[in-house]
Symmetry: C2
Subunit: 326 residues, 2 copies
């Protein structure tokens, strides 16, 4: 099975992550061959598998190592992530995700809604089958609620004038950081890590998630169709105002506000004005600085965890995030 | 709190069902007041609460009566049902559900997708908080998967020429009967009913669900906007071919096939032809007979359960289903 080339540098994950995908694949039990193969395509679409990777690594924190269980939990988390991606695609009506035509463009939004729901249920099936206790499961479903509140908030704030860094951070905290935090936490807890270690893992995951989303939002202003798998400046087109733009607004509000009030899609001139304002106000640099700050907070939490190979790997992986271009 | 007037005849349910709604209401913890109140409106929209009612009644089967737990499980089941309704509405693009403007028409489909997801997560939170064991939870999430496979199948079969009664029954078995079966089963199991009793409860629920959906599908051909809360012949407009039409096809295929191949929406003439064909082929009567058969199978399962007031109530409630007009 082909996984993202980034894992070539991490042998243990290169071995385990395909097992995560395989387990998800095996859980798809649908008689209809067309529906089944469509869902399996989604599962094999080649995401980066960062959440399961962090979960697997954090399963090395505690004394109880159970590879089968660790892989199952990682699979449940990735399935949850896939479910939210599918629904996000319907909502964004994005033409492509990960460089491929999205599910809903192929089989329409309707299919994508139930397909997301199906993966959602599957994630809970896998968790309840392998998890240690009901309280962990409650924890997971509560976290999922928070993620969806984050999504609802983001939806609700679309096309509202970008206001403050604080509200942006609170939004991505629910939307992205939560699932990274849960991934690290669940991996740790199921290995019977101490409460303090589990808390460190949670915090580390939270900070990594914050940095990840900020960098993702930066890339939306930077990348091009070849290097990142989605169209550039998709967020602003969809009324999602992220950190670089929020920084730009702080200095160029009179210029930007009338542009943002226009009907979508923006034309190239409008997009150029927005880009220029962000460049003039150092929006990308400021956002990058904040991402770096979160990475450093994450590394500080990491430093409190017990030594071991996994810790080196977590260190490398997390540092690498700052350099990512896709 | 106002619940459906049908419960006036069932005092214990009239007392308990508002508590189910209240518990769901209490679990909605969203800071944004607009999002919160929109979701609470959905919760209080006044569904019939049949699934929680059956679950509460089946909690009387076993020796361990825990009203608080029974209400929580009923709440989880109704929350799951609400989540699927919200997503069904997006998919049907139905203008009204339960006589009110649907969520997605008010706040667009996007909101409805995440709102459904949120309720979905909430249902698992409630279940994991109150359920006896992980294996019950695994059971519930697997059932949910089956429900969604049923939905995906129905979606996939839309606009395909209505073929056989058998495939229709298999479709509604996944889509509707599964959740009725789970409701009865979970209620029974959490009261520590015997395995055999739990099996009887499951079967009863399954048969009730089959009858319920057949009658629902009949009403779509019969009702009018005043008595049932959705537009008449909505199913056929949306390419969902249900039992009355399948029976009509058995005798009037040459007449109906060219009509069904037309673009939607149908005009009144087309709808009149479809109605006439169903009447001529006794589609409604035949479907009603099958619903009655399922009710009788349900009552047979019921007769095997221990005596008690709950049993009388289950008998009355299930019999009443055949007479429902909304």
């Amino acid at each position: 099975m082909q996984i993202h080339p980034m894992w070539n540098d991490f042998p243990s994950l290169k071995e385990d992550l395909p097992k995560v995908i395989q387990l998800i694949d095996q859980h798809i039990k649908i008689r209809d061959t067309k529906i089944r193969s469509t869902l399996k395509e989604v599962v094999h679409a080649g995401g980066k598998l960062l959440r399961p990777a962090y979960s697997l690594l954090c399963h090395e924190i505690g004394p109880e190592k159970n590879k089968e269980k660790a892989i199952a939990i990682a699979a449940a988390l990735e399935t949850l992530h896939m479910a939210t991606l599918i629904h996000d695609d319907v909502i964004d009506d994005a033409a492509t995700r990960r460089g491929q035509a999205t599910l809903q463009k192929l089989h329409d939004n309707k299919f994508a809604i139930y397909a997301g729901d199906y993966l959602f249920s599957m994630s809970f099936t896998i968790l309840s089958k392998y998890s240690n206790s009901l309280s962990h499961l409650e924890y997971n479903s509560r976290s999922m609620e928070k993620i969806l509140i984050g999504e609802l908030n983001q939806l609700h704030s679309r096309f509202q004038s970008p206001n403050s860094v604080k509200s942006y951070l609170s939004r991505i905290s629910g939307k992205t950081a939560q699932l990274f935090a849960v991934s690290c936490y669940t991996g740790a807890v199921e290995s019977k890590a101490t409460r303090r270690q589990a808390r460190n893992a949670w915090n580390m995951g939270h900070y990594i998630g914050m940095a990840f989303q900020i960098i993702d939002d930066i890339l939306d202003y930077q990348g091009d169709k070849e290097t990142i798998g989605k169209p550039v400046m998709a967020d602003v087109q969809q009324g999602v105002y992220t950190l670089p733009l929020i920084y730009a607004m702080q200095g160029s509000r009179p210029l930007l506000e009338p542009i943002l009030a226009k009907d979508r899609p923006f034309n190239d001139d409008d997009l150029a004005i927005i880009s220029k304002a962000i460049a003039e106000q150092n929006g990308i640099e400021k956002a990058s600085k904040l991402a770096e700050l979160y990475i450093n907070k994450a590394l500080k939490e990491l430093s409190k965890l017990p030594d071991g190979d996994y810790k080196e790997t977590l260190y490398d992986l997390t540092n690498q995030m700052l350099k990512r271009t896709t």
